[in-house]
Each structure stands twice: as structure tokens, then as C-alpha cells.
Amino acid sequence: MQKSTILFLLTSVLLISCASNPVVKDYVSKTPEKQSFDVPYFANAETDYVYKANISVYGNELSGIFIAKKINETTHRIVFTTEFGNKLMDFEISETDFKVNSIVPELDRKILINTLKTDFRLLLRHHFAVQEQFENAENRVYKSEEGSRFNYLFVSKSNGKVLKIVQSSKRKEKINLSFTSENNIFAEQIIIQHHNIDLRIEFNYFKPQSN
């Protein structure tokens, strides 16, 4: 009898703590074992990160080539072209700065540029300060504050790979970035899914041709 009461109490406590944080529902809070975490996927300045990109936005499909390159300690250059190679947009982005080098008139919309700025900043970011940590049987989750939003980094316990990054407000998930990586250095596939707008971006690594 006493056992079941304790179980009931424990379950209630767990339910209450989980309900307050939808991103790490079913996860248990832990004392952070590190103060920061580095995501490896776009960190190498030697690498041309080239992906086939498919963007689906409110029922419209757009495809092309996504290119990212780290051009100095803080900044990445990002270019999106058609399959023919015509440049559609060209940005430079860091954690604090953002510059539009060029954009075709058809895509030159503030709302679109701001959305992509948020997405790409999160995608390319290397260093995250850790304030909280959560765990379940498979994953560790590092929570990192960013202004009024929070970034949750899901890392596999078994192989250390960054599986996804969820950006949320206090109550809701906003953006979900999921990664598929074989070596934990380079992501072969990336999916950026928005929750408050109908936008999904898929990147598939562009294997160099062997002739």
C-alpha cells in the first residue's frame, strides 16, 4: 500500500515537471556535466558544405543547391543556387551579424529572409552554453538559452552524435533541426521543420563525383 502511494507521488511529480517542459517530456533533469557543448557539423573551415536542397513552403516546392562555408572564426557564407547554378541568395551570417550579399527580386521578402536567418544561424552555430541538462535511456539533452528562446541539443548517449536541435519558446517548439550523420563530423542529411509556419527544408549531402 505504502509502495503504491510512493509510486503515485513519484509519478505525479514526474508528470508535473514534464508538463512544464514539452520539449523534454519524459526526460529527467540532471546537474549539467558541462558548461558548453560544440556541434561539429559546419565547423571545419576547410570543407565546402554542399547539399541538394528541397524546400516546401505552404504547398510550394523549391529545389536547388545549398552551399555553406566557414569563411572566418565567426562567420559562414551561405549561397543558395538553382540546379543550373544561378545564384538565388547569398548571405554572410554569424551569431551577431547578418549581411545579404545578393538576393533575386522574387525572393527579396523580409519575412522570408528573417526566417532563413534564424534557421541558418541555428544550423551553423558551433558553440552553445549549457544551463540545464536532461536525460533518458538513449539521449542526453543540453538546454541552452538564447534571448527569449531556448535551444535543446539532443545527443545520443551511445555514440555522442548530435541527433537534433529543437528551438522553443517557453511553451512551444518552434523549429526542429534533425541530423543524420555517419561519422559525427559531417551531417549527410538535415531536416529543418518549422512548427509555427508551414515550412520544411531538407538538405541531402552532395557526394563529390568520382570520374
Partner: protein, 186 residues
């Protein structure tokens, strides 16, 4: 090139391009951007049939095919199909004409372009600068390299700026073989 050489070259190219009823060729595309370590390489096959059926088929490193047909663009992206009506878009009509013209060599329209002619390494090179301001936003200059013997296009270079261009090399070209209309579907 002297005026006489230029006239001779234009005459030869026009004669060859007039005789082109169909054209099928392999291509390798190199996207060059100064900040990248390597050009981005894609390749595939291109088919053209008079007067304006065109298919670009990328086979490596992905399957992506685009057909220009009766004012429409048909796309097949790894099996995912879509169509775009470009009849109303002047800029697409111009781009389409430009692509067809680049491959067939029939681009020497002085109303549309400022054209200069060169001889380079035994080949002929023409540089075309679009006069249309809208088109110029997309392409600053087109460079066509012609084979010196058969006067067909062997390389197209589309320049967005001096640091940024797309180079397309055409090889294994077959002229006037029978191409069925049905291949221009996606």
C-alpha cells in the same frame, strides 16, 4: 578577329545552327565561386529538338530533369514531379531562348546582346552581354566557345560576376539523330 574573319565565322555558325534539327550531348557543369575550395560538379545529358524542345537531365550526383516545352517548365526531381507555367514570365522566356541559343549557337542577335568575337587557342570565343536590364540581373555575360572545325558550341560560361560563374562543357555531341517527342516529358 578582323571584320572579315568575324563575318566568316558568323556565317559558318549560322549555317551550322540552321542545320541543327536535333542535338543530343553529354554535359559536365562546374559551378565556380571564389570562396569555395572546389567547383561544384554535376553532369548529365541534354537533348534539344527544333524549334524549342529542350531537356536537361542531371544524372550525377542526383537525378533531376528539367524540360522546356510550349511555355512550360516540367521538373522531375528524384521522382517528384512539378510543372511551372512560364508563358507569362518574360524573363523565363528570355532565359529559355538563351539556353537553347547557347547550345545551338544561334545567339547572335545584336538587338539582345552586345557581342564581341575572339580567337583563343585555336577555338572561337564569343562574349555576349545582355542588353535587357532584367536579364542582366541574372546573367552579366555569356561566353560561348566554338569548335574551330565544326562550328558547334563546346563550352558555355554564364557569368554572374567575375568571381562567380557556371561553366558547362558539352561532349559526345550527336547532331540530327532521331529524337522522339516523348522524351520531352517528365
Amino acid at each position: 578577329m578582323t571584320a572579315a574573319e568575324m563575318a566568316d565565322f558568323k556565317k559558318n555558325v549560322n549555317e551550322v545552327s540552321k542545320k541543327i534539327k536535333t542535338l543530343s550531348t553529354d554535359f559536365v557543369q562546374y559551378k565556380h565561386m571564389d570562396f569555395l575550395a572546389k567547383d561544384i560538379e554535376t553532369s548529365g545529358k541534354m537533348n534539344f529538338k527544333e524549334p524549342n524542345l529542350l531537356q536537361w537531365q542531371y544524372k550525377k550526383p542526383y537525378n533531376y530533369s528539367i524540360v522546356f516545352k510550349n511555355g512550360k517548365i516540367l521538373i522531375n526531381d528524384e521522382g517528384k514531379k512539378s510543372a511551372m507555367d512560364v508563358g507569362s514570365s518574360k524573363i523565363f522566356a528570355k532565359l529559355n531562348k538563351l539556353i537553347v541559343g547557347s547550345v545551338s549557337g544561334n545567339l547572335f542577335d545584336d538587338k539582345e546582346f552586345d557581342i564581341t568575337y575572339f580567337r583563343s587557342k585555336g577555338q572561337f570565343l564569343t562574349k555576349l552581354v545582355p542588353k535587357d536590364a532584367a536579364l542582366k540581373k541574372y546573367i552579366k555575360q555569356i561566353e560561348l566557345t566554338f569548335d574551330k572545325d565544326d562550328f558547334t558550341v563546346v563550352q558555355v560560361r554564364l557569368l554572374e560576376s567575375s568571381e562567380d560563374y557556371t561553366r558547362i562543357v558539352l561532349k559526345n555531341k550527336i547532331l540530327n539523330a532521331k529524337i522522339d517527342d516523348s522524351i520531352f516529358t517528365n
